[in-house]
């Protein structure tokens, strides 16, 4: 529970904290799985590891409904504009989780055809290392995203700093 005043039958806190708590426990992830990290993600969604325990039961397969873009796998340069388009179609507030070495840095594919990390085209909130990361690591990444979401100020998305960040990626 967030900080606040509680008494007999009531609890008072700030709007930010309530919304943050609601958001972080009802993430709708959008899986963008292109290779083996996607398989680990499937295990993460399965009964054994069960991402649903963290309120992220409901995957959306349209970017317009989702809050969290999970990029799992190698992104070829030719896939770059596609990924960017998916990100642009997501409504604010939106978060991005780069799962695995390839999405984070290009990984072993130090090659002419592979994007050397998705943060060259879209801003990333949390990176999960591993090649591929185990489901526990993906869960850890999700929990890190939840922390970010829970603590985010409602004004952040309107701040100059955030606009600068998006501008640096050429996103108006």
């Amino acid at each position: 529970m967030p900080e606040g005043y509680s008494g007999q039958g009531f609890f008072a806190t700030s709007f930010d904290k309530v919304i943050g708590m609601a958001r972080k426990n009802s993430i709708w992830p959008l899986p963008f799985a292109t290779s083996c990290c996607g398989i680990e993600f499937m295990a993460t969604m399965g009964a054994h590891y069960d991402l649903a325990r963290f309120g992220a039961e409901r995957l959306g397969f349209t970017p317009r409904q989702c809050d969290l873009l999970m990029v799992m796998g190698t992104i070829a340069k030719k896939m770059g504009p596609v990924l960017r388009e998916v990100y642009l179609q997501m409504a604010e507030p939106r978060w991005v989780l780069a799962v695995g070495a390839c999405a984070s840095s290009g990984g072993i594919f130090d090659s002419y055809s592979v994007l050397q990390g998705i943060d060259q085209i879209i801003p990333v909130d949390v990176y999960v290392p591993g090649c591929p990361p185990r489901p526990e690591a993906i869960l850890d990444g999700i929990i890190k995203v939840q922390e970010l979401i829970g603590q985010e100020s409602l004004r952040r998305r309107h701040s100059e700093r955030y606009k600068e960040l998006l501008n640096s990626y050429g996103i108006a």
Partner: protein, 166 residues
């Protein structure tokens, strides 16, 4: 009587004489070299007279040490009647990498020639749509040519500090 490699070589030599060279049998498959001006005539002859009507593969090779004939185009042909395969190579100068397109004879050559252009920069004269097929259209080099160090020093898309080469 099934078609043998000896028959094929004999028919080719009768038709084209000394134009075709380097008859070899690497991995027990007949391989020869044709001059690049004759590639379509040889393919047409193989198609009409020897039933090589299936183009299995078309690709390029870069031999940086063969001055004046650095780039090769390799055709893998299959005779489905006699179930026999062969390989034909055409060499071209890297300064003038133009080879006649085989798209009129084999529709399947269309995408394979685009791929060969994409990776080796071989320009297929007469191709209906010679654009990159696999790489991003903005790419301004031919990645499968053996003219780059194993790690490309000119790249700026990798953050050097993170990979121990800052």
């Amino acid at each position: 009587m099934a078609l043998t490699y000896d028959d094929i070589q004999q028919r080719l030599t009768e038709k084209f004489g000394a134009e075709l060279t380097d008859f070899e049998m690497p991995y027990e498959m007949l391989t020869f070299t044709a001059p690049k001006t004759l590639n379509l005539k040889v393919l047409q002859f193989l198609y009409d007279d020897l039933n090589f009507q299936f183009l299995t593969d078309l690709t390029g090779v870069h031999y940086p040490d063969r001055k004046g004939a650095e780039l090769a185009v390799v055709y893998h042909l299959h005779n489905l009647v006699d179930n026999i395969r062969l390989r034909m190579k055409v060499f071209t100068d890297i300064q003038d990498p133009k080879v006649y397109t085989a798209t009129a004879l084999f529709a399947t050559a269309n995408w394979m020639e685009r791929e060969t252009y994409d990776f080796f920069g071989i320009e297929f004269t007469g191709h209906p749509n010679l654009t990159r097929i696999l790489n991003v259209p903005e790419m301004d080099y031919f990645p499968m040519r053996k003219e780059y160090p194993l790690e490309d020093q000119t790249r700026i898309d990798k953050d050097d500090e993170m990979f121990g080469r800052g």
